[in-house]
Symmetry: C2
Subunit: 160 residues, 2 copies
């Protein structure tokens, strides 16, 4: 997979992947009626650094990186990741995550934080742990999972 | 203190208090160059329920209440509180907070979460604890305090 900065002509491909992930409703806390315009703002809005992963000339995944808080909190990065459903199990998520951590360091962030890692998303929790993140807090029942009802979410953190 | 829903003619008074709190830079993670327009959007934006506290015909404080996350996370409330600097030490913050908790229950929220309670803001941590919130996570060094450098922030949570 080649990872490169996103350009505007990538937007429709990023959105195709993102809307599929959003519709599944298992990993992001997003409005159920999210429009493509809102999705684009969420993923590629002002202040977000966006990368895409290409395999065989196709965009198979993307991540965004941004300050998790403004002003006095802007030395901590936040990020989001998507991989096309047909491309999972090929470690693209791990490769994107490793790239994003290096990019966050390069941009001068001192730490990285995920605010809302759904506890039932075990592959994500395992991957972030393997990459050096730790669970610094667990939010009880904060996510209404489409199949499992109210489930916990973790706050995960790593110094860079 | 009388607490009532905010109306648009309250905005300038809310903003006077909020801009003062924001300029102190000790409690909110906001851009240092925050404009009044951005401040208004932050406090009174779409989806926020805003109340003001009046004492002797003057607005002395305000709070907003909103879903902390969208969609599958929208059963948990988030809130922010401000009290005018000259009006502190009169328990207006506590009264606003108690009102907001009752209002969150009335609106059907199942829980309430503060994402970023600065650890050096001891009166806030003490007040939230007294009202039933608990620290569910501590974020190391995530807030650059104007006097104390990098300090921790707490994630605080209460079931309603």
């Amino acid at each position: 997979m080649i990872i490169r900065p996103a350009v505007s002509k990538d937007n429709e491909f990023i959105l195709d992947i993102f809307m599929e992930v959003a519709a599944a409703g298992e990993t992001f806390a997003l409005p159920r009626d999210l429009s493509r315009e809102e999705a684009l703002e969420f993923w590629c809005g002002a202040g977000n650094t966006v990368f895409v992963g290409e395999e065989g000339g196709q965009i198979v995944g993307s991540y965004f990186l941004k300050p998790n808080q403004a002003g006095p909190g802007n030395h901590v990065a936040n990020a989001g990741y998507i991989v096309a459903s047909l491309e999972r199990g090929k470690h693209f998520g791990r490769t994107l995550a490793e790239h994003s951590i290096a990019e966050a360091r390069r941009l001068g962030f001192r730490a990285m934080q995920f605010n809302f890692v759904i506890s039932t998303n075990r592959s994500a929790v395992r991957l972030w742990t393997q990459l050096g993140f730790r669970i610094v807090g667990t939010l009880p029942g904060v996510f209404q999972h489409p199949a499992q009802g109210y489930v916990d979410a973790h706050v995960m953190f790593m110094e860079l």
